[in-house]
């Protein structure tokens, strides 16, 4: 009697890749034949248990098909969704640029100084005489006033006489 089949030889039986030697041995050795058959039967029961567990109603498969279709459809729109977001962002940026003032914002102090200078220039332009001649004008005015007063006094005295 030959020695019994090894683990790997029993597995060969399971894989359906056994050679003539294994087949001949199984035909003559009851112990190995039973061992191989028990393993085959156990794995077959395991297979049946998975098949039974995986058995679901038709509604389950239909719902799954619908869910897949729905999600796949959403994924089709996904790139378009991002294109829409990009377009909206562009519109927003354009709107911000358009609504902005064309002049760049200036420093407030500089603006105040400019305004003051402008006012000063306008005041200068509004003057009758240049600023440098203002004392002379003042003297002339005072002199004219004195002369006017003198003339008035003289005319008053003449009238009294």
């Amino acid at each position: 009697m030959n020695k019994h089949l090894s683990e790997d030889q029993i597995t060969e039986c399971m894989l359906g890749t056994r050679d003539d030697f294994i087949s001949r041995h199984l035909a003559t050795c009851e112990a190995c034949s039973v061992a191989a058959e028990e393993l085959r039967s156990t794995i077959s029961c395991f297979r049946d248990s998975i098949l039974a567990t995986a058995q679901r109603d038709d509604s389950f498969w239909r719902e799954q098909q619908l869910a897949i279709r729905e999600h796949a459809s959403a994924k089709d729109w996904y790139p378009l969704h991002w294109a829409w977001v990009a377009a909206m962002a562009m519109v927003l940026i354009t709107a911000i640029f358009l609504t902005r003032s064309p002049n760049p914002p200036q420093n407030k102090a500089t603006e105040d100084a400019d305004k003051a200078l402008l006012q000063e220039v306008q005041a200068d332009l509004a003057r009758d005489v240049p600023e440098a001649l203002a004392p002379a004008v003042l003297i002339a005015e005072e002199r004219n006033e004195i002369l006017t007063n003198k003339e008035q006094t003289k005319s008053t005295l003449k009238e009294r006489r």
Partner: protein, 198 residues
């Protein structure tokens, strides 16, 4: 059918639009013909019906998004399984998700899944023995690495060939076989050792 499935993924969107079709119109039949298998594989890998349901949806959404990258080298089924196996692997890696899942989800334990044997005519003793053995296999499968678990499920639940499994897992056929040997050996040792509670 296979040609239609390939067309669903391979025909460019513009050509479909010219034919008055939308990309979704012919993607839905593809979902219909593969969703049960994807769900089953994910259930086997994750042992969690809720996660399997969520990841099945995610798998098809990823496939839909990446349909432009499908070159038709493998079948659509292999391509979808590849996405599903990667999703399951990522899901398992997320320890945080697993933590919250354990706290909140009413996922079925080993014994409960083991009780779902389809043969109602078997003797009571045989049913109990079968339940115990199946629970032990579930427990052993959970101890496997994610890759070994995927390979084991694809071979013994989906009954895929070693070549197809190699295409799904991007491994060589020899490596797939080695993983299967290790997985079966681990399960046999667990079966010899005793029940699921070990």
């Amino acid at each position: 059918m296979v040609q239609n499935e390939r067309a669903a993924v391979l025909i460019p969107v513009q050509e479909k639009a010219d034919l008055g079709m939308t990309a979704l119109d012919d993607f839905t039949p593809l979902v219909r013909s593969h969703q049960q298998r994807i769900y089953r594989v994910l259930l086997g890998m994750l042992r969690d019906p809720d996660a399997a349901e969520t990841l099945t949806q995610e798998c098809f959404l990823k496939a839909y998004q990446r349909r432009a990258s499908f070159r038709g080298e493998a079948s659509v089924g292999v391509w979808l399984l590849k996405i599903a196996v990667n999703l399951a692997r990522d899901h398992r890696r997320s320890r945080l998700r697993e933590f919250w899942h354990r706290l909140s989800s009413p996922f079925e334990d080993v014994a409960e899944l083991g009780q779902r044997l389809p043969d109602p005519h078997a003797s009571q003793e045989r049913v109990l023995l079968g339940q115990e053995e199946v629970a032990t296999v579930w427990s052993a499968v959970e101890q496997l690495s994610p890759q070994q678990r995927a390979i084991f499920i694809l071979r013994f639940v989906e009954e895929m060939s070693l070549e197809e499994i190699a295409a799904v897992t991007s491994l060589k056929v020899g490596t797939v076989k080695t993983h299967l040997f290790r997985a079966v050996r681990a399960i046999r040792q667990r079966l010899k050792g005793g029940g699921a509670g070990e």
